[in-house]
Symmetry: C2
Subunit: 213 residues, 2 copies
């Protein structure tokens, strides 16, 4: 039988700091069995971090070698360390028909959309600027300069929303709604005519062959 | 609280004859509470048809008057009769935040997409040309000229798939999968950044106002 879209979808999850995107991503994996792309980094593991779970921890030498081999679909240097998304895992999973989630920043998201035009870019937000401010300001005892830095960052993140195709609200106590919405987005995208060209063309050809000449 | 997309979505359902699109539409309304736009026609009701359920039955005079008043979002004349989608009902439902389903042919679908760029166009198909042929040919005792006409029509319908954004399979005995996929498509589309401009701009403005000048 002809089948629709065999290749998996590449799904980029970004969002405001404090939007809970990490928990949403974890729940998407647990509930719907999506694959998670684990980033590679040259920074040292922090306490409790496990190699291959939070990150693949590598030496700078290994990382640079992988860059030379075109081994990343995106990478960046922050402060003194490299961070990147290894190409092999993503390609293997997509070829096997699995959906791969990437939790990355906007610069990486834009770069991925250029290489994978069918990638699905989703931005996660609090239900309002008001509630986002509360989450950013009232976490504890931080002084005003820390809060100011966070607000500045949030404003910059907000400007990047226009780079994304979808925006989903993660409201307090309603993470499941957010998770299910993202699942719907992924399910819907797999039904796009533009990602099912082979299937559509086959049906068109087969029906045309039936025509009396 | 800021809310996302207040306006409902306009959803166009088309598909091959024999794809079961009528049953799918009915089940979408029953299961998910979508609104159905009932077409207007100048043809006489057939046995069992109820005015306002299958169609709004009108005189040609009334129909032509409504055309003059720009009362249709699309209309066409087939053989000796007019068929059209009344504008008022659709506009009222969308404004009330309801999703409206239209089950129409490809010409109407294209015309609606021009007037409502956010309309969601979905084409329903059998899982393969093979199974579609079976459904079209083996219904009963029709002679070969009837079957030939149907195959010709199916080939023409297949060419129109490229006008749609989504294609969904309605497999025998799996109508529920098809119905749920369409629901996912509608849910996902409501999360598009492009249909949530007001919400995104409000968040951007509010976060920017927090910045020290």
């Amino acid at each position: 039988m002809t089948r629709m879209k065999n290749r998996g979808s590449l799904v980029v999850i970004s969002g405001f700091s404090g939007s809970g995107k990490g928990s949403v991503t974890k729940e998407l994996i647990r509930k719907y069995g999506y694959s998670l792309s684990v980033s590679m980094t040259t920074r040292k593991p922090r306490e409790g971090e496990v190699d291959g779970r939070e990150y693949h921890f590598k030496t700078e030498e290994d990382f640079l070698k992988l860059i030379d081999y075109n081994g990343f679909i995106e990478y960046a240097r922050y402060v003194d360390h490299y961070y990147g998304t290894p190409r092999q895992f993503v390609e293997d999973e997509l070829a096997a028909g699995h959906c791969v989630l990437l939790e990355i920043e906007v610069q990486g998201a834009v770069s991925i959309k250029e290489q994978y035009p069918d990638a699905i870019l989703i931005f996660i937000t609090a239900p309002s600027a008001e509630s986002l401010k509360k989450r950013l300001c009232c976490r504890g005892t931080e002084d005003s300069s820390v809060i100011e830095k966070r607000m500045h960052r949030a404003a910059a993140e907000a400007e990047s929303i226009d780079e994304y195709q979808y925006i989903v609200i993660n409201d307090d106590g309603k993470m499941n709604e957010c998770v299910d919405k993202i699942h719907s987005i992924i399910e819907g995208e797999a039904c796009r005519v533009s990602v099912n060209h082979d299937f559509v063309e086959l049906i068109q050809r087969e029906l045309n062959e039936e025509q009396p000449s």
